[in-house]
Symmetry: C2
Subunit: 510 residues, 2 copies
């Protein structure tokens, strides 16, 4: 006969198994939707949209229903009062968080947000084409109201913008984001001023010319080969807006080729490699639960930016990769590694478009959006005031003023998705990338020599060991602390850019 | 105040709406699985399989649960005692049929079949590689038992093979299939004898040579262009086993290219076009319900075979298409349309492999499988007797005896899937193709002149009008009767092949 304790343990195991199988089903539905989205962006015929929208909507509602069902809540309650091991505790913590958020928002509101954003997309697109913010204003107003209401359901006692931010970054609280972004603003504005005042004469036309798409694709594959991309679990395709998606068994990269922008396709491919490489480093045996899922947006972005910037824009990398690029493009024969490095790190003066920004000015684009959306959600800024606020901030932080809203506050898609609180994660990702890279070099020594030889295994091994393999086992602050010995902070990033751009632009005092 | 009748009508409408929305969700889950399957066959990286299998298994169980939920049964009961219009009646009829079948089989048995077939596939594959039927025998035995049990749950009073057949062909009863297949056997065996005894000297090497894959692909696209494939709702890719999949918004074709088999890639592409073209002819507004879904396997196969054989293997088609093929392959300059036609319709003597068979012998391959699987399920044939029964029948019907089981009873994948009752639908499809083509020519006049000019619109218009647009509105016998004025029968097919092969092989009395 089983003792009481044995019976209780076995019941606990049964409960956990039932819970895990439920969680895995939810993940499978969500991963299936990921395949449909990849398909839509990459291979779906133009007129497939109406059916695809319905398929995705059904998968989304099926996933939501599985997550928010009473059975899920009952299992969570039971498990939270049971003895769980560390892994089980982490899975329960992550699912509880999603369960609480999704059950707190009424389905009618979710449906209204979903419908409003679906309709907002074409309105935003037309407003941008017409360069007329007015066309988008009432839609944006509606989205701000709906998202405030949404936040209020989740936590009526919390700053609604903090609640929205937590949709994208659940464990790094808003104070951390604010602290980092303010620091970036305060330090980068003078640094960019110094760069713009510099007399240094960078060679910036190393990649001027016209480059065949097929050869660019071959070179993008060379880059992925070099970095160690696992083609048995991945593929490369083109998409209008490059992205990466998938699971540890199948993590795909997309990129785009513009005949006038060879450098852009290389850096974009390396960026997406960083995302896919993180996904591929998640443990196989964790598939289907948070233990096999990537941490949130900032950590994901840290991986893409670490590879794009710390590797792909380094002097060492161009020492290694330029000869490979010359095999595809003999016209690069006359370009020196130094010139390639300088071209890859040029800071532009007339800096209006976020997605075209360099490593320095990028963060002021983010700071501007962050300050505006935070004030919008707080009700401290009216929608009608957005264009002026936007233009004033560009003038103040970047010394340029957009002539049009199309090049100004209408340039990004995010608000038309109702995504308020998303932008900061881009900068947090860069900051974390620098922090991780510094910690990896503290552990392993500098990677420059290896990179110059095309050896990326030690760096990637460190990331696998310290970030990838953990999935969502640790919260983001715990993960960062374990990997770097420190909380998230801007110092490593600022140290990195000051040194890099100080050298590039011969800046005094940097 | 609403009258009682108005209230009852409004309640009926609400009930139907709830039912329809449930049915649409089930369709969306199933169509999502279709996308995942396309992805797996066409673009998925090799190592994606474990995660994909789990995703597909979850979608399958989610769809099953939505269909078999008590709510579905309650809605069906309520609607069946309500006033419904013709379309609603058809939708309820189709869903009721699936509901009754799926609720009658215990989930443990479904899971056991699913697990057994998953494990059977590698066993069958290895047995075929090793040319050793014994390796597969006990697995086949198990599958036969499980499928008998399955059939018994659905209808214990019916011949279990008839129940299994109805999984693939719900409305054409087994007697119809038997009648047609016996007729084919009785008439084709002497016709094939006559062909094999003929002294006619066909030109059969028109497509001998080696043909570049890329040029073959370009030619496959030419063929699809010619036939009127809608590229805004479709695409062409390669797959090891060509197939077509999708919805009326997105119906994709796959094909394969073998440098030694140009003709094979053309006929295979046209075959899959026929499937996709049916799907694309389903009404947009029916998406998500049976009104927007294709009728079952035989009708689907009638569409692929009509285009592959009645169009793509016709003298008129080669008059039109050979000049197009010559543009891609100048080496075809010396080939005459007559020689191309003869090569496309050659009847082989040593006919062992179903998938390589011509239009005549194909059906004896099917008859053999039909007779064996029917006897297996009935318990009149033991699994251990399958190789001998197979070889004896090949000798009797086709005058050839396989030397190996790999070229004999292990050649097809179907039984390893537990698919007993599937094979007959291939021949029923051919028979129906001939019947439809004859009816279309009765209505519109002969299509030969149009085909010679590359005009396929009238033929396709007739198919759209008489078959495609109806979805599952009518049962299969109703659909055939409305389109052709007759029940399904072998006469048009037999008339077609006797005339065609009588001419090709100068046969007396044909």
């Amino acid at each position: 006969m089983a003792t009481d304790q044995a019976r209780s343990e076995s019941e606990g195991t049964d409960t956990y198994d039932a819970f895990e199988s439920r969680v895995e089903r939810i993940a499978n539905v969500s991963n299936a939707a990921g395949v449909l989205q990849w398909d839509q962006e990459v291979v779906m015929p133009d007129e497939g949209t109406p059916a695809r929208a319905k398929q995705l909507s059904t998968l989304s509602s099926v996933g939501h229903e599985l997550l928010t069902a009473d059975e899920t809540g009952d299992l969570l309650d039971e498990l939270e009062s049971s003895e769980l091991d560390e892994e089980q505790t982490a899975v329960v913590r992550e699912v509880r968080r999603r369960y609480d958020r999704e059950t707190s928002v009424p389905q009618e509101l979710v449906a209204e947000i979903s419908e409003t954003t679906a309709n907002a997309h074409p309105v935003w697109k037309r407003a941008r084409e017409d360069d007329d913010f007015e066309e988008f204003a009432s839609t944006l107003e509606k989205l701000v109201e709906l998202k405030r209401e949404y936040a209020n359901h989740i936590d009526p006692d919390e700053d609604p913008y903090a609640v929205l931010f937590a949709d994208y970054e659940p464990y790094l609280d808003l104070e951390t984001a604010e602290r980092v972004l303010e620091r970036l603003r305060d330090e980068l504005v003078p640094l960019i001023d110094a760069v713009q005042d510099s007399d240094a004469d960078l060679e910036t036309d190393a990649f001027a010319g016209t480059f065949d798409d097929d050869d660019q694709e071959a070179l993008a594959r060379d880059a992925l080969d070099s970095l160690g991309y696992d083609w048995d679990r991945g593929r490369l395709d083109t998409a209008p807006h490059p992205f990466s998606t998938g699971t540890q068994f199948d993590a795909r990269v997309t990129t785009r080729f513009d005949p006038d922008d060879l450098l852009g396709s290389i850096t974009s491919t390396i960026h997406e490699f960083g995302h896919a490489n993180y996904t591929l480093g998640l443990p196989d045996e964790g598939y289907g639960t948070p233990l096999g899922e990537a941490r949130d947006l900032s950590v994901h972005e840290s991986q893409s930016r670490l590879w794009e910037n710390h590797v792909g824009r380094s002097q060492a990398f161009w020492g290694y990769f330029l000869p490979i690029a010359r095999e595809r493009f003999p016209e690069l024969e006359s370009v020196s590694p130094e010139a390639a490095y300088e071209a890859a790190n040029q800071v532009y003066d007339d800096n209006l478009i976020r997605t075209e920004a360099d490593e320095l000015t990028y963060h002021l684009h983010i700071v501007i959006r962050f300050e505006i959306e935070r004030d919008l959600i707080a009700g401290d800024l009216d929608v009608s005031e957005v264009p002026d606020a936007w233009n004033d901030k560009y003038e103040e932080y970047l010394g340029v003023r957009p002539d049009t809203d199309a090049e100004g506050c209408l340039q990004d898609i995010h608000w038309s998705h109702g995504s308020f609180g998303y932008f900061p994660t881009y900068s947090l990702g860069s900051v974390l990338a620098a922090q991780l890279y510094a910690a990896a070099e503290d552990d392993q020594g500098e990677f420059g020599e290896q990179i110059r030889e095309g050896e990326f295994g030690d760096l990637n091994g460190w990331l696998r060991e310290n970030i990838h393999r953990h999935g969502k086992r640790y919260t983001t602050p715990e993960l960062i602390e374990r990997a770097t010995g420190d909380e998230l902070g801007a110092d490593p990033f600022l140290g990195y850019v000051k040194s890099k751009y100080g050298d590039l632009y011969d800046l005094d005092g940097y």
